[in-house]
Symmetry: C2
Subunit: 244 residues, 2 copies
């Protein structure tokens, strides 16, 4: 679905719709407005927990997901699932019920009693799971690049283990911050060609679109640089051109 | 607040109110019923994202938080915050605005552009932050016990680094699964006496209350073993006796 939309629209930009507004009605309206303005220039829409907390999943975010689908775009929930199995499964089921096509999850819970139930559910409902592999913020390095070893293995950077897990679990893709092209390059080497790499951190966080794509990202996640622009449509169009 | 309630009620049990019900009205009613039944036997109430997704934060979870406060109990949000700074801060602010006294966060984002904004906010609003240090599910071991090193440090188990971070950041407490008393013991050694240790995984997940308290936990987080019991009040009372 994302590949089709990307080819048709000649864009590798995933809109991160993370608007904030204390007024619920205005927030809903602004979200819909940005969506309509940029829909032709993006290949997917990612929602984060900003909208879920402010609008509620039901009677709020679910309507936005419907609108995303009306534009023939896939809806990705940036849930960063990181809880024990029964809670992860509840969250995953709720988001899938609300119409999301793909969820972002953290591999940190491990398989047993962590991600096992989520992968099972996703398979049964034909939904995609994307593993959070390397975050885009400066402090992420402390953790994601730690030299770490499982059992008797020799140490390697933490994110490399996450990619191994994602491959083993047959995840659809990886999230790797656009702020670190060298990490994207290494992730692509380890992930092979079939796994999608999505990269946030372009624009407001300083990531360079061309460098991220050049290093092996398939899709760039762009939020504030589009929805806070004076002309979101133009910003989305410009970012999509940068990714060709 | 939690210490006061714990002394007064002679209980170290934190109720995890993670009910599920497809009917929103029933879910609200059952949550209130369980809360009223067990309030005298617990020292705090922890909500997870089950209720947030099902009821919404506004016009749902916020009412439950009010009721928790009417019972003179603190409300802990098990948000497991794990996003970049501006999203973490938005989530933290939303939960604090809804009345929560403490939030659980994951140290994995690191400080800069991850936890920095959350700690700043918590300090300005006199709220407590609790760091997710070791999860209770079987698969958690893969990750939380990995031998990992920061920079030129010699390798040690991952959760030990998280405790160092929690101390450095001046967190109020740690979450360490009750299913692994030896990890609780080590966490207590490293955390010192001032930091609270909260342990989930008692009951449905198989953790032994006495072993967890004996190893150094201050509070046990109990969910299904209370709210799925035929008599939740009795179950809460029994668990609280086990923790004395």
């Amino acid at each position: 679905m994302i590949r089709k939309a990307s080819r048709e629209r000649r864009s590798r930009v995933v809109l991160a719709l993370d608007l904030e507004d204390p007024d619920r009605g205005k927030l809903m309206q602004r979200s819909m407005d940005v969506l309509s303005a940029v829909a032709k220039h993006v290949c997917a829409v990612k929602l984060n927990r900003q909208l879920v907390l402010a609008l509620g999943l039901w009677g709020g975010v679910d309507s936005i997901v419907n609108t995303i689908h009306e534009f023939s775009l896939p809806a990705i929930m940036d849930a960063k699932l990181n809880d024990v199995g029964h809670t992860n499964e509840f969250m995953a089921r709720s988001y899938m019920d609300a119409g999301f096509d793909a969820l972002i999850a953290s591999p940190i819970t491990g398989w047993e009693g962590g991600m096992d139930s989520v992968f099972k559910l996703a398979e049964s409902r034909d939904k995609a799971l994307i593993m959070l592999t390397y975050m885009s913020n400066p402090g992420a390095q402390t953790f994601y690049s730690m030299q770490a070893s499982r059992g008797n293995e020799s140490p390697k950077p933490m994110f490399e283990t996450f990619i191994e897990m994602a491959r083993q679990w047959k995840a659809y893709g990886l999230v790797v911050g656009a702020t670190r092209p060298e990490i994207i390059r290494r992730s692509r080497e380890l992930a092979g060609r079939d796994m999608a790499i999505l990269s946030p951190g372009v624009g407001a966080q300083g990531g360079d679109p061309r460098a991220a794509i050049g290093a092996g990202s398939d899709y760039l996640i762009v939020g504030r640089a589009i929805y806070e622009a004076s002309d979101p449509k133009k910003a989305a169009s410009q970012y999509s051109e940068l990714t060709l």
